[in-house]
Symmetry: C2
Subunit: 424 residues, 2 copies
């Protein structure tokens, strides 16, 4: 698996995709037991191979200045013993989930006696393009194989040696358990043009999943000839209703904004009912001052909070991914809902309220993948939802929405049992 | 709703899509009762308005020669009293289905007490492009609105007066029941370029559904910037296993092939196990001779059936939509499965067998939207599956597969109830 930048890219990509499809056909009939045994054996092998993984990782660390990585980025790249333990633990956790494949989703017996079952099946081949840390390599392979799909992994060049070491172990163990090694392929070239080639191969690849910055996702969406599970920005809102418990509201807003700044389910916008604005805004302003979070407010906000800067219309659309939040005061819950539905990226919104009617109205009318009541936006996450590891959080409505776990990578087919039935 | 061919197409399409999106937001919160009342009132109004519908239909019939329609096509265009009764009855049937919107698909309470519900929601706006008979206009509008979606209907020019008469009635009744008239819009221009404009408007349209010939579906797939539910060819197979009841096999093959020739779930290919070929092929050849069905067989078939013509490799991929069938003799069920997975369009395949093991192997390994055991391929149909009316039969695996009824036009969102929950 050398990094060959001068190979014939087109035929390399075609061959990779064809091998993935062939592997997916075998994988579709591999038992759940074999897949789980593979996951557990891989976890053990990763722990055992720590030294050689660390060695590969060291190469990536040494190359980091070449890619202009910041200290924080280098730190995220580093595979400590704890982090490899985390990767192994995640595989074991995925092994414990029920096998989705072959499960009956619905069934009925028709008046004419035909017995109809709707059965869960894999999608086929997943093309996963990511920019993230090496742990994502193992997570993605595990989720895809557990759901019966072959995966083509296209990781960031910054982590390629670490990813190669991990994939090698997963492949070696796969073969031991009757899973084709080609079910887990890492793209061995770092040539950006490879992505474009793969995105044309809809005859072999069933879904493309980009995970990373907006530029990557936009490029994949535009070039892909197969369906894409997209994850655009998270401009998440917290709305503090007139009936909110204001202490609770401070906790939820601070947690939503400050728990981690760089994540898609962090709050970027605060909406406050005017009845409580005079009391609540100074409370939250104090909390934000402590955390050095900048408030960018509308006129009403700036009147109440001296430290707030005036917000532009752009601010209300912004995903800051940092210690800044936009603030808007509204006259009614209807205005809050309209403001949010207009500006949000349909990822996660939260209402803080003690009113049953307000909670019902907000959850019914907000059009986002997750709508929280009296809870932090940070809970929109596969792990927190009990879906296990996730391959992304979809901001689409089609096929999969919100955290995408194992089931998001499946389709279904109908099995119909008759006794010589013909149509009249 | 005049047919204006010279209007500014671009802005007409944009405005239509924007009105649809605005309507979809209102429609998402309309009660199931209101939608069902609308369906029933529309059915009654269609019956009552038979004379004016027939008058509009007469215009289409008179224009038919201009479009070069065949007699059979003109016949399908004609709205007799019986056919309008059929349209009305279909609306009443859709009214009887449970409302999918707001239903809880799954729910759980997490260890930390967060209560998570996965709730069914509409997709939003459907752009439906079809070439078929005027009854499809009413069916599609009913399925879309029942599932909470606004629809932009782009019907064939041959039926435009009939479709306009039907849509006018549906819109008039919609307003009476609190459903925005813009939830059901018929594209008033027959300019082909309009389709291209709509396919660019992914900001307003959530899914495009083409229904018609392969050329239309290919064009829509290629031009669409939003997801597409595709329905490509139906090259359906019947496999007669070595353990088949041969009388039953004749009935199922004949029904699958001859019940209706021009439909996507008609059989186009017959696969026979060599053990029974010498006995079965003459039986089916007699039955086909009676129906004037031409057999195109491989070498083994042609040896047994004198009347069979030699099949080319192209024959095994063909969707004839007429009285022709390809025939292949295989040495094993594995060979049958490999042949089918290679040549089929993944629509519908059927096995005739008395063997439990063979039925399990076939249903597990065949990768098609519906796999039948001892039943005609003709049963792959929304009505036969108990899904109610269908908007098409998807040959995709993504989002929706097989007959697409009301649920295929929905997505979901997560509603999360906390009591001040923040993430640790």
């Amino acid at each position: 698996m050398a990094i060959a930048d001068d190979l014939d890219l087109n035929s390399y990509c075609l061959e990779t995709a064809q091998k993935a499809q062939a592997a997916s056909r075998v994988l579709a009939t591999v038992s759940g037991q074999a897949k789980n045994d593979w996951l557990k054996a891989s976890a053990a092998a990763l722990r055992e191979a720590y030294d050689s993984i660390a060695e590969a990782n060291q190469q990536d660390i040494e190359n980091a200045p070449k890619y202009g990585l910041t200290d924080a980025q280098v730190d995220r790249l580093r595979l400590t013993k704890d982090r490899v333990e985390g990767i192994a633990g995640a595989l074991e956790e995925i092994a414990m989930f029920p096998d989705p494949i072959g499960a009956t989703i619905e069934s009925s017996v028709r008046p004419n006696g035909l017995a109809i079952q709707k059965i869960r099946v894999p999608l086929g081949v997943v093309f996963f393009i990511y920019e993230s840390r090496p742990n994502v390599t193992a997570d993605a392979a595990a989720i895809c194989v557990k759901s019966g799909n072959a995966v083509i992994l296209r990781g960031g060049k910054e982590a390629i040696h670490s990813s190669q070491a991990i994939v090698q172990i997963l492949q070696d163990k796969a073969v031991e358990y009757g899973i084709p090694a080609d079910a887990i392929q890492l793209v061995s070239t770092t040539d950006r043009a490879a992505v474009g080639h793969f995105l044309k191969l809809n005859q072999y690849i069933d879904v493309a999943i980009p995970r990373g910055g907006e530029g990557l996702i936009r490029r994949v969406s535009e070039e892909a000839t197969m369906p894409v599970i997209k994850h655009f920005a998270g401009n998440c809102h917290v709305y503090v209703d007139q009936s909110a418990d204001l202490e609770m509201a401070v906790d939820i807003v601070v947690n939503s904004k400050c728990h981690r700044y760089g994540v898609c389910n962090a709050a970027e916008s605060l909406v406050v009912h005017q009845t409580v604005a005079e009391k609540f805004l100074p409370m939250i302003a104090d909390a934000f001052a402590e955390k050095n979070v900048e408030m960018r407010g509308d006129e009403a906000t700036c009147k109440i909070v001296a430290a707030a800067k005036p917000a532009t219309e752009e601010d209300f659309y912004a995903e800051y991914l940092g210690p800044i939040i936009s603030v808007k005061v509204v006259g009614s819950i209807e205005e809050a809902i309209a403001h949010i539905n207009q500006h949000s990226s349909k990822h996660t919104e939260s209402i803080v309220t003690e009113s049953l009617a307000a909670s019902r109205q907000f959850t019914a009318q907000i059009d986002s993948s997750a709508v929280m009541v009296n809870a932090s936006t940070r809970f929109n996450d596969g792990g927190e939802f009990g879906l296990g590891a996730e391959i992304g959080i979809s901001t689409d409505k089609f096929h999969a929405r919100g955290p995408c776990g194992i089931e998001a990578l499946t389709s279904y087919k109908y099995i119909v049992m008759g006794e010589g039935h013909v149509r009249q």
